[in-house]
Amino acid sequence: MTGWHLDDDTLRRYVERADSLAEGASAEQHLLSCEPCRTRVNVAASVTELSVIDLAMVWDRTRDAIEVPRPSVFERLLRGAGLPASEARLVAVASAFRGVWLTGAAAVLAFAALAAAMGHARGAWLFLVVAPVVPCLVVAASYDPWMDPALEPELVTPYPALRLILLRTIAVLALALPAVLLFGLTVPGETAFAWLLPAVGFVAAVLAASTWVSPLRAAVAVSCAWLALVSLLATRPGSPDAIIQGRAQVGFLVLAAGSFGIFLLRRRQLRQLRPWR
């Protein structure tokens, strides 16, 4: 150690990190061997209340940048729609919102809409079969235990399962309905929009049936029943639209209201919560 010490100006600039790289390195070299100057640095930092680097904070930010997964496009959309960040994450992690699922559903819809738009005789039938069941299949996929393998740790958390299921259902509908509507625009006739109420009815039916069987089984059963009904009508003369017109629409409304009522009444028996009977 020499008799030389950092002058006040150099010390201040070092503490404020306003010095040059070379000046800082020189000051640091001196500080390594000079206890009195190190004491002066501490005093200067505390007296002037300068923001000394919080290494823990810096380390946390570094780990955040590495470890915290970037929100998906869908999650960012949910946040943009006003959902709190934490709930947007809970909704977005469901398997149903993974690209492969959405791409698959969109491809099937696009195919059906294209067939209908080209005026193929069976095109309208195909769209009628596919459009109403896509939302209920994706809803089921958003909370089925088979699709959601983290079920058991999720089950014993305090977060209400009913809320999680409804959040995911609403998110699915918000995503699926506009997409199907968009494809529907290419379909001639009333089929383009008349499937909406059946779709809502089927989603409600799946929620209600999930209190007895697994959501995916419920959705497959509803889809098969719908396919059988449309196939049966296809063998008869007349327009396929008959099933989604007039009184039939009232029937779908009743199905939706009744099923949702059953779902709320039997929510404790949800298949998701099947152990707790």
Binding site: I66, E67, V68, P69, S86, P149, P153, V156, P158, R268
Partner: protein
């Protein structure tokens, strides 16, 4: 602070015609309690009852003085509960950090900075601090078990239920996990099921042996080991009368139970010896009881 506790009275659980658990009476206080028993003995069923993942078919369960059959009280229990199931499925594409962060959200950690700090704390505890960004699918079996344990440790729960937490974990990490669990057990009720008797011997002050859904032994580990004192011996030949007998690395036969022959060398019994003796050398897997119709 009230003492964490669990009590079961005549608790039982059936699945259809199969009785998985019958007439269990237990009182559990802070500390580590080990559950031993063959496959199908009812260990997982008992743990799921305690974790509110399954309701009892009969009897009464109270966790922290709360009744899990009352929805509001069940939620109260879950706020103070950590549970590591036997099998944890991980959503596709998740990293360790993302999975634990997801469970933390469900555990009502809504404030981002605090949640991330807690996720890091538990990942650090289980020795995964450097693997937070690694995809779980690319991890070894032991690392996945540690991810599952990390989510159970979130929030320093008053009740920690662990189903085979050390299965597939390497010896060094098992020692680390024992240290972590011993620390947690200073204030929390920790119940773990395992097939590793050395974990129970090293960690648990109390052991419960289940057999066909019933409690076969409940008491201090040392007392169970003491029951085998003088009944474990080495000989040049296996003893047909012994409960179990196997050839050791030295070429001699370790006999547990039976009549000690002249010239046999007595050895200190281990917990495994005592457990095997208690079970009488029965086959490892046992079918659960059928419920009388």
């Amino acid at each position: 602070m009230p003492t964490a506790s669990i009590s079961l009275r005549d608790a039982g659980r059936t699945f259809g015609a199969t009785r998985a658990l019958a007439g269990v009476d237990l009182d559990l206080k802070p500390g580590v309690t080990g559950l031993l028993g063959p496959n199908g003995a009812g260990k997982t069923t008992l743990l799921r009852l305690l974790a509110t993942a399954l309701p009892p078919s009969q009897g009464r369960v109270r966790v922290l003085g709360l009744d899990p059959e009352v929805p509001a009280e069940r939620t109260g229990i879950r706020r103070q509960l950590g549970y590591q199931p036997q099998e944890v499925g991980f959503p596709r594409g998740f990293t360790a950090f993302a999975f634990v962060d997801y469970i933390a959200l469900l555990k009502e950690w809504t404030e981002r900075a605090a949640r991330h700090a807690e996720v890091r704390r538990v990942l650090d505890l289980v020795g995964l601090s450097d693997l937070g960004a690694k995809r779980i699918r690319a991890m070894s079996g032991g690392q996945r078990r540690r991810v599952a344990l990390a989510q159970a440790l979130l929030g320093s729960p008053a009740v920690l239920i662990l189903d085979e937490p050390t299965a597939g974990v390497d010896p060094e990490q098992r020692v680390v996990l024992r240290t972590v669990l011993a620390e947690v057990a200073r204030t929390s009720v920790v119940v773990l099921s395992t097939h590793q008797t050395e974990d129970v011997a090293a960690l648990c002050e109390r052991v419960i042996v289940l057999d066909r859904g019933r409690v076969r032994y409940d008491g201090p580990v040392t007392d169970l080991v003491a029951q085998a004192a003088g009944r474990v011996w080495l000989a040049d030949e296996p003893d047909p009368a012994a409960s179990v007998s196997w050839r050791t690395g030295t070429g001699r036969y370790r006999n547990v139970g039976g009549r000690v022959r002249d010239g046999a060398e007595h050895v200190e019994p281990s917990l495994e010896d005592a457990y095997l003796l208690l079970r009488g050398g029965a086959a490892e897997d046992e079918p659960a009881e059928e419920v009388a119709s």
